[in-house]
């Protein structure tokens, strides 16, 4: 991790939907090579936060700087170029239903790297599939894959452009505990193999502990506490205790 090089910098970010203020002045620095986990209950603003980082939503107030670029000031073409350096793994995997695994993986590549030959594309597809351990699924349709396989293919689709930043939205949501562990390991492997920095949004403490270098607790649009897993959950703040106890009780 390089503490000198922040790849994501958020300052005083506010976001509201109608009268509901979802983010209330968020400051965040994510450093090169670091996995930051943002924890919080449903509706705490976690997904809104990474959608703002990816430029899918605009903040009402505050600044968002990603890889040195102020997102608000980019024109659509510059934003597209920046997005090719950001991988976004969606909660629902968001695989294109009408395309098989090969076409899903090729899609970002053929649209962003028009200089590549057919052979280059085939090699890149084979490599990412091997990296996520699903080479045998290349000709399958998304409907033929299990939930865990869909997550892996979704991650592979983002890796094909060799992003510098990965954004994971609830990577283990809806998966059984064994598959969740596999996905957690994959997130760590991606960090090492592709030297990515990542923001991981989750409410799963096992996922947070396994994948995060730093944890941030988000509650009611504000960061309550941040640090290592131990540092965050040694807090006596009732909201953090409740969150921890809820996870502990439901897991056991």
């Amino acid at each position: 991790m390089d503490r000198e090089k922040p790849v994501i910098v958020l300052r005083n970010v506010h976001k509201s939907f109608g009268n509901l203020e979802v983010l209330k002045g968020i400051d965040l620095d994510v450093f090169k090579g670091e996995n930051v986990v943002v924890l919080g209950r449903s509706g705490s603003g976690k997904s809104v936060l990474i959608k703002i980082i990816a430029g899918l939503l605009k903040p009402d107030k505050g600044s968002v700087r990603v890889l040195g670029e102020e997102i608000d000031r980019l024109n659509p073409r510059e934003l597209q170029a920046l997005r090719s350096k950001i991988g976004f793994s969606f909660q629902s995997s968001a695989l294109y239903d009408g395309m098989n695994v090969r076409a899903n993986l090729e899609f970002p590549l053929v649209r962003n790297r028009r200089d590549l030959t057919r052979k280059d594309i085939d090699q890149a597809v084979a490599k990412v599939l091997e990296d996520v351990g699903l080479s045998q699924t290349i000709d399958q349709m998304p409907s033929q894959l299990s939930g865990g396989q869909k997550k892996r293919i979704g991650i592979a689709r983002t890796l094909i452009l060799q992003p510098e930043i990965m954004l994971y939205d609830e990577p283990t949501a809806g998966l059984d505990p064994v598959t969740s562990v596999d996905i957690n390991e994959l997130i760590r492997e991606v960090q090492q193999l592709y030297s990515t920095s990542a923001v991981i949004i989750t409410h799963d403490l096992t996922c947070a502990r396994s994948t995060g270098d730093r944890l941030i607790m988000l509650s009611e649009g504000r960061f309550l506490r941040q640090g290592s897993f131990g540092e965050v959950f040694e807090s006596a703040d009732p909201k953090i205790r409740d969150f921890y106890n809820y996870n502990f009780i439901t897991k056991t």
């Binding site: 969606f90 909660q91 962003n112």
Partner: protein, 249 residues
């Protein structure tokens, strides 16, 4: 009432975005061709069959009335006027609205609620250009072709009935049929069909892009796409026919 006007404003904005993005590179040639295939080739069978049956049945139904006046020789020209001026573009538009409009609404709606559109956006692809512009261009360009083909099939259906009753040759039938048809009728058929195609494409894409509330929203998007586009096609038919009859004839 406010919600209605807000929706109308959103549609106008959507159409404005279509014109802004359709003519600015990069162009999605491959996806446009793909949609031409989806809209055109996949609708050909039903258009062929429906056109033929429409021509056959209308000729059969009109025969008895004309026979009372000994005017069955008017059947070819009467059918040509009915099919080319009215039935071909209208029936084609209704079939395409049902088949393609619902498909567009459901497909884009499903992509919206499962985050596939956002996934496209973060893959550095403009989803509006890739999904919306290509589909609207396809429906706008293909509908005139389908309507013309339906007109031809309708005339073949009409010919079959005339041939069985009067043993008229194909050449004589078409000569009689096109005696009353002008180039203006053909231009209007092409123009009307293009307008209907644009309407069906915009309605399907708009409703799909606005879908929310999971699978309920997808069903609603598909349903609204069909109902609204069919209604708009009838309204446009009325306006275009009035304009043509009042100002061009």
């Amino acid at each position: 009432m406010k919600a209605f006007f807000l929706r109308v404003y959103a549609v106008v904005e959507f159409i404005g975005r279509f014109f802004r993005e359709a003519f600015v590179p990069p162009y999605e040639y491959k996806e446009v061709l793909n949609q031409f295939f989806e809209v055109g080739i996949r609708s050909f069978a039903i258009i062929t069959l429906t056109g033929f049956i429409t021509g056959l049945v209308f000729t059969k139904q009109s025969r008895s009335s004309l026979a009372e006046f000994g005017a069955t020789s008017w059947l070819p020209s009467l059918m040509a006027i009915a099919i080319i001026r009215g039935l071909a573009p209208l029936v084609t538009a209704l079939i395409v609205a049902g088949k393609v409009g619902s498909n567009i609404g459901a497909e884009l709606g499903s992509m919206k609620v499962t985050e596939q559109i956002e996934a496209m956006e973060v893959s550095s692809t403009n989803p509006f250009k890739f999904l919306v512009v290509s589909r609207i261009l396809a429906t706008t360009c293909i509908l005139p072709v389908l309507a013309t083909f339906m007109g031809f099939m309708g005339m073949l259906g009409a010919f079959l009935n005339v041939y069985r009753n009067e043993q008229t040759s194909l050449a004589t039938f078409f000569q009689a049929a096109f005696a009353r048809i002008t180039f203006l009728d053909i231009y209007v058929l092409v123009f009307k069909s293009a307008v209907y195609g644009f309407t069906i494409g915009v309605t399907g894409c708009f409703n799909g892009f606005q879908a929310d509330q999971g699978t309920v929203g997808v069903g609603r998007a598909a349903n609204t796409s069909v109902v609204v586009s069919m209604f708009l096609v009838f309204v446009e038919e009325m306006i275009i026919v009035s304009l043509v009859n009042n100002y061009l004839k």
